[in-house]
Each structure stands twice: as structure tokens, then as C-alpha cells.
Symmetry: C2
Subunit: 203 residues, 2 copies
């Protein structure tokens, strides 16, 4: 498209580098900012710039943080004897949204995947073992995707934690709420029968 | 959603102010920038900031411009005796994309619409009349949407240009190329019969 302006072309190309945004949408966003007063763009640009320059990883759990330690690790109202181990920061957000968990987290930043060249040393595993040694942790919940890489990671972590006085659990797997039994895959359905639980606890 | 970081929350909210971008997409865009090195965000933010701070309207045709005069008005290879009158800058882009027009433009910045409180004095009409008086213009093409407001605007402009030695034309209206006759609306189809043209010129 001929924008007859280098400035607008640069802005459109900038938006178009974002995932899921093509040239047409990028132009729409650019013209939207053009129609608003310049202050709107300044506010927009500053929020994103500040976020990227100032955001850190929590030195304790590797969640995203505004300071050295994230808000979850800082919050003394939370149960500090449970650590939920997750793959990434999005998982922290997803679990926080359920409002069913009140403990701490540990973000691995991935799973063990030899095909992708990701070994245990690339993940935040050593720091997790250290935390469990030093702090008074009673339970470690593995909230990791039930994929081959995920299972490998859980197995490796469990080996690393052997000998520590800590209970290792994993999130329940089974047929999703609202899901149709006949549409569930064989492995999930089969495992959900084998790992069935007493009726009361499921309420 | 609980982002456990004010910085990320501000960035997500900034993206979510853009049209067609909800909170979930905004989070995806924010995390995309987080996964890239900080330089990517700086480039992104600067392109948009520069665009909004520096962009101008061409003092001659009111198209967007990097300087006082836009690239189209500056281009002496274009036919300077024809002015195409359009509602907005998007129309300039759309017509430029056709590569079928080589003249100049004049952006009105809207159409006359008493319901929306837009009168002729809010539009760039006086400057158009001045241009036609001063410059050596032979033809003015009205490329304005065939709506009631558009027709009113064309009528008003034509009245204003009366007495000037200039030919006023308007873009052809009719059944769109590739369009099915039976799906065309009555008015378009009816007018396209009344305003039929000799076969040769239509090639």
C-alpha cells in the first residue's frame, strides 16, 4: 500500500511486527491513534516502554515482578509452605485467575525437551531445589502440561527432590468439566477411570 | 485477570485501548514483547511515537505528510491540472493503490452532515476553491461516497465552483466488477441503466 508518508509507513510496519496483526489492521490502529490527540499516543507508548524497560523476574520464583520480588512472594497472607511448579508466567496468571490456589509459585521457564535442546540446566530447577532445602516447604504441586516433555520434567524434578521432606503432588487429570465423555480421548478417559476418586472429594 | 505486576497491567491496558483488541489479545501482544529483547520494544515504541509527534497535514491538499507538503503534491511527475476530491486520507491510499490516477488530491476531512453538526465551514472547502482559483486546474473529480451526505457535499461543492473554468466530474457508479446483477440493489442497477455508456469506452 502507498502511504505517501514515511512516518505512517514506519508506524504501520511497527504494528505489523506484532503477532496476529497484518498490514490492514496495523493501518487501522495507526489511523486510530492519528484521529486521537497526541497525548493518547504518548500514554500508550509510555506504558509499553516503561513495562519493557522496568519489568523484572522475581529472584525467588521467576514470576514477572515490578521489583526484585514479585507481589505473590511478597504477600504474607499466602500459604508459604506450598510451591506450585509451572512452565511459564502465563500459567501463573491462569492459576491465579481460578482463585483456588493461595500458595507460592516457581516458574521453570519451559520443560525438558532434548529435541529443542532444552536440558535441566536451562530451566530454573536448581533454584527450586535450593528453595525447598532452605524454606519450610511441605508440598510441591506439579502444574505442568501432561505432554511427554512435561512428564519427563516432572519425573526429573521428583528425582531431584528425593530425600527432601516434601510431598510431591500433581494437578488432577481427567475429563474436563462440561466435556462430553464420548469426545474425550482414550488415554484421558482410561486414566480417569484408573485414577478415580471417592465421590465426596470431587464435590 | 491477575497479572501480579502493575507494569504488565498498564501495558495490557494500553494495548486494549486500541480498536478490536481485547484484554486477551493485549496480553498476548505484551508477552510477545516480553519474550523479545528490549530493543524490539524500543524500535516499536519509537516508530509510533515519532509518527504521532511528527506527522502533519499537507498545507495544500490536507493529505498526511512528513513535511509541510505531502509527497503527492511534491511529485512533479504527476498531472497537476486534475484534483481528486476525497473525504479522508484513507480514500487517498485506496485510490493510490489502484494505480489508475496520476493527479493531485484534496482531502475534505468529512462530508456535510447537518445531523452530525458538520457544515461546510468545518471542511476543507474554502481551500479547495482557492486552489482552483489560483492554480491551473482543468478538472475536479468528486470521489465521494454515494450517500445522502456525500451527494449533498458534491452538490454544495459544484455550486461553489460555478463560474470557474473547471470541469467537474464524479467517479462512475454502477454494478461492481465481479458482482452479480441480481444481487445489486435497485437504485444502483436502475441508475446504471440510465447512465449507461457506449461499449468501447467501458473496456
Amino acid at each position: 500500500m502507498d502511504y505517501s508518508s514515511k512516518l505512517i509507513e514506519d508506524a504501520v510496519n511497527a504494528f505489523a511486527t506484532l503477532p496476529g496483526i497484518g498490514k490492514k489492521t496495523a493501518l487501522r490502529l495507526t489511523l486510530h491513534l492519528l484521529n486521537k490527540d497526541p497525548g493518547t499516543t504518548t500514554t500508550f507508548v509510555e506504558a509499553i516502554d516503561q513495562f519493557r524497560q522496568k519489568i523484572q523476574r522475581c529472584k525467588q520464583c521467576f514470576n514477572i515482578a515490578d521489583d526484585e520480588v514479585c507481589l505473590i512472594c511478597k504477600n504474607h497472607a499466602r500459604n508459604r509452605s506450598v510451591i506450585c511448579v509451572v512452565e511459564g508466567i502465563r500459567d501463573v496468571m491462569a492459576i491465579e485467575d481460578t482463585a483456588h490456589y493461595n500458595g507460592l509459585y516457581h516458574v521453570l521457564d519451559g520443560v525438558i525437551s532434548p529435541i529443542d535442546g532444552v536440558g535441566p540446566e536451562q530451566l530454573n530447577i536448581e533454584s527450586l531445589v535450593e528453595r525447598i532445602k532452605k524454606e519450610d516447604i511441605e508440598e510441591v504441586i506439579m502444574a505442568i502440561s501432561p505432554t511427554i516433555e512435561g512428564e519427563t520434567t516432572i519425573y526429573y524434578l521428583t528425582k531431584q527432590l528425593q530425600g527432601q521432606d516434601v510431598r510431591v503432588t500433581q494437578i488432577a487429570r481427567g475429563v474436563a468439566f462440561g466435556g462430553e465423555l464420548e469426545l474425550a480421548d482414550e488415554i484421558t478417559l482410561g486414566r480417569s477411570i484408573v485414577t478415580r476418586i471417592p465421590y465426596e472429594t470431587n464435590r
